[in-house]
């Protein structure tokens, strides 16, 4: 069977999508780009291929045991265990890297105390992972860096003492996570699946043999990528020939058209860029605007805010939704975000109200790009990471309704993959053009 791969190398996250011959999405991969671009691309790609295998695995399960109770549960458990294995692998590797960093540091007097602190920290990290690693908890970040980062920092605070300062432990981590992120996955699908199968079988002993057969059937199936197109901020760094690279504007337009064929206006708010795109009834871009030179008001802004408040990105939206009176915020310089927040807090504004104001400020910037690109037409599709943020969505739909009238607002659960889907579609078209020629 042949597949088409689209890779969207974003500034904060890298996305990959696998399409089958019928232009159905069969695999998705997502990783954060706070590392080497090549590695990010290959991570996303590997993830997407893993995901595609699971797609077939589920199909096999459904076929073999159709209607059997617990089939869905079984599948979810297996997938979750697979991720857990991946996660633990990386935790262990990070642990080792941290120890190496410690050995190389000049702080000899801290060596032994830091080593035992690190051991304790990572033991707790592992235990916590095994305890409640839940892939399907939708509001959780799935990025290794985010998960391990917040755990590590909380634990480092706990294990730091007067003689073993927090800053020291933090620095060890900062050094090591960079290395960890620059490594590729490092294990094969087979081995991880094998380990995961054992875990799952422990939960569902009655299905042990079923798991065995299904797994081997999926492993037998070859995955052949027929064509591949890359896009996104870092596209120039992809090891692809020029004709396999497409502008992200075009990909977003086409991707949005794929999800919602009636889309005319697309807004994408990513980590450090915001794009407003108008497309025609075939997904062809007719006009667009994007921010340049300044990343104020983009997704990273929210990232800084979340860091400042020490909460997860996904918690920002819901918190802001609780506001009663939003505070007016005008500066949206991403780097100043934290200072602005502190300032407002010290003036006595509530966290919720400030957050509501911040979301509004971001949305206003987007509105300005939208108006520059020509306005907001029916249907309107919102994509990019920030589309996951309920408060941003709310502010946006309000402003659109007030200023442009009723518009159908589309947000696809897969919206973060919009650019990658567009790229995959271009890959498919290029390959059928080639065939036709």
């Amino acid at each position: 069977m042949g597949f088409y791969l689209g890779i969207d190398l974003g500034s904060t996250t890298s996305k990959a999508v696998v399409l089958d011959e019928d232009e159905q999405i069969v695999g998705r991969g997502l990783t954060n780009t706070r590392s080497n671009y090549e590695v990010a691309a290959s991570l996303a790609q590997e993830e997407a291929l893993v995901n595609a295998r699971f797609y077939y695995l589920r199909r096999e399960l459904e076929k073999s045991e159709s209607g059997a109770p617990g089939c869905e549960q079984l599948f979810q458990q297996l997938e979750s265990d697979f991720r857990l294995e991946q996660h633990l692998f990386r935790v262990n590797r990070l642990h080792e890297t941290c120890l190496e960093a410690l050995e190389n540091s000049s702080a000899l007097h801290l060596l032994s105390s830091a080593r035992s602190a690190l051991d304790a920290i990572f033991t707790e990290c592992r235990e916590e992972a095994v305890r409640d690693f839940d892939l399907h908890q939708a509001d959780r970040s799935r990025f290794f860096r985010d998960i391990i980062g917040s755990q590590y920092m909380a634990l480092a605070e706990k294990h730091s003492t007067r003689t073993l300062p927090y800053d020291f432990l933090l620095n060890i981590y900062d050094r090591s996570i960079l290395k960890e992120e620059n490594r590729s996955v490092g294990f094969t699908f087979e081995s991880a699946l094998g380990a995961a199968r054992n875990r799952t079988a422990a939960h569902f002993p009655q299905h042990a043999s079923l798991l065995q057969t299904v797994a081997s059937r999926v492993l037998e199936r070859p995955l052949e990528v027929l064509a591949c197109v890359g896009t996104g901020y870092g596209r120039q760094r992809l090891p692809f020939p020029k004709e396999q690279i497409r502008s992200e504007i075009l990909c977003h337009g086409l991707g949005a058209h794929y999800f919602f064929p009636a889309t005319r206006t697309v807004l994408d708010i990513g980590g450090q860029d915001t794009k407003a795109i108008q497309v025609d009834d075939e997904g062809v871009v007719t006009s667009f605007q994007m921010n340049d030179r300044c990343a104020a008001g983009c997704g990273r802004y929210l990232g800084y805010i979340a860091d400042e408040l020490n909460i997860g990105l996904h918690e920002l939206g819901p918190l802001a939704m609780q506001s009663r009176r939003s505070v007016r915020i005008t500066s949206t310089c991403t780097v100043f975000a934290g200072a602005e927040l502190r300032d407002r807090l010290s003036l006595g504004d509530s966290r919720e109200d400030i957050l509501a104001g911040l979301h509004r400020a971001i949305t206003l910037r987007a509105m300005s790009l939208l108006s520059r690109s020509g306005g907001v037409f029916n249907e309107f599709t919102f994509t990019g990471g920030v589309a996951k943020n309920s408060a941003a969505v709310k502010a946006l739909s309000q402003l659109i309704a007030e200023n442009y009238g009723e518009r159908k607002l589309n947000i696809h659960p897969d919206s973060i993959y919009t650019g990658a889907v567009g790229a995959a579609l271009y890959a498919r078209r290029a390959s059928s053009d080639r065939k036709a020629a």
């Binding site: 007016r328 915020i329 005008t330 500066s331 206003l364 509105m367 300005s368 790009l369 108006s371 520059r372 020509g374 306005g375 402003l399 007030e402 200023n403």
Partner: protein, 400 residues
């Protein structure tokens, strides 16, 4: 009247003015029009138009000074690049969001290229609404620029007639001249009081009072001013150890209130400024009399103040600036101009070298009408006032 009463009344006046300031939907104009059928209102871009003539025609001249920090820009950005000042985009925003629907037309005096082009944009966007570009002559010779201006004013009179169905009479114009002359006197008194005893008249109050004059009929504005001028001197405000500054450059796009407050908090009494210039454009009254339209024209030719969008001719504005500094006994000059405002910003180097030569301290910064952070400006102004304050003493006491 007790002190408390007068404080209360002052608060009431200022509170009312502030509500007018916040009235970005121009409800006050709507109310004025609704009170009597057939009333008309004409918007005009800041700086100068002959309000006397407009009002004489039974038309309310409404000064448009942008949306400040109150109007969120949603569509306005689609009309202006990032490097153009802010006031036209908020004005467009207000027009597109129907906030200016109560205006029967718009006058764009010649202030700068942005306003000039704005008049054309208005024509493209609202082809059915009156919009006139008033090219104020830069030639002040009565038989040349004067003759031209007179005929342009006749055109304006014809516009007014078309709008209301009747031509303003000479008596009407004279009455209107008297009202605006009175207004000028009161505004002058306000500024004099402020320069004499700045602690009695916080800039924010004098500013809000002036802004009120943009949207209410001149009679009502005169009442507000009279009330304020009577009550303010009875205040017992503490005199602060502030420096006295002259503010230059904010004649068109206006700084947000927060900025004006920041200026004073940072240790500066603003003893003169060029906010809402239209109310102080003429340096003397017009005076009622025969051929009042010509009197209005003559006043423009002979009594216009110095200003960035006006050609200085044989009255170099650098000299006038020095005069003004001396007149209000300013310790320094604060150049406070909107970003991207060519007229204001291109005058600054001339002014600065003049002040350098005269040994007068100055500082400069830019703003936009929706600037939200004043930290930097406070820091800058604070240092400016520190440096004037500490060193005037220091000079005598020589360190070390």
């Amino acid at each position: 009247m007790s002190l408390q009463d007068s404080t209360g009344q002052l608060e009431e006046i200022i509170g009312y003015c502030e509500s007018l300031y916040e009235d970005v939907d121009l409800q006050c104009v709507q109310r004025w029009k609704a009170a009597q059928p057939g009333r008309r209102a004409l918007g005009f871009m800041p700086v100068y138009v002959a309000r006397e003539l407009i009002y004489a025609g039974g038309v309310l001249p409404v000064g448009l000074m942008g949306g400040g920090d109150q109007v969120e820009i949603i569509k306005g950005d689609a009309y202006y690049q990032s490097y153009i000042c802010h006031i036209p985009r908020s004005t467009i925003e207000m027009a597109l969001s129907q906030r200016l629907d109560c205006l029967d037309g718009l006058l764009c005096p010649s202030v700068c290229d942005v306003i000039r082009n704005f008049s054309g944009m208005w024509k493209l966007l609202f082809p059915d609404r009156l919009c006139r570009y008033v090219d104020l002559p830069q030639n002040f010779n009565p038989s040349i620029g004067g003759a031209y201006y007179r005929r342009e004013m006749d055109l304006l009179m014809a516009d007014l007639e078309a709008l209301t169905g009747r031509r303003p009479t000479d008596e009407g114009v004279n009455r209107s001249i008297e009202l605006y002359d009175r207004n000028r006197t009161l505004v002058e008194q306000l500024y004099r009081l402020r320069s004499d005893q700045p602690w009695l008249v916080p800039t924010i109050e004098s500013y809000l009072l002036l802004r009120a004059g943009n949207v209410v009929p001149v009679e009502e504005h005169n009442q507000l001013l009279e009330g304020y001028l009577e009550l303010a001197p009875r205040r017992t405000f503490r005199v602060m150890d502030n420096i006295r500054v002259l503010l230059v450059g904010s004649f068109c796009e206006q700084p947000p209130l927060g900025l004006i407050r920041t200026l004073e908090k940072a240790g500066c009494y603003i003893v003169d400024d060029d906010f809402v210039l239209v109310s102080r454009w003429l340096t003397r009254g017009i005076g009622a009399g025969a051929d009042p339209v010509q009197r209005v024209c003559n006043a423009y030719l002979n009594a216009s103040t110095f200003h960035s969008s006006k050609y200085e001719g044989n009255q170099p504005k650098r000299d006038l600036l020095l005069q003004r500094v001396a007149q209000v006994k300013a310790d320094g000059v604060v150049f406070c101009a909107p970003s991207f405002c060519d007229p204001a910003l291109l005058d600054q180097p001339i002014y600065m070298s003049t002040l350098d030569n005269g040994g007068i301290a100055y500082t400069a910064f830019k703003y936009a009408e929706n600037t939200g952070q004043f930290q930097n400006i406070r820091e800058q102004l604070g240092t400016f006032s520190d440096s004037i304050k500490l060193w005037s003493v220091q000079a005598a006491k020589e360190m070390h």
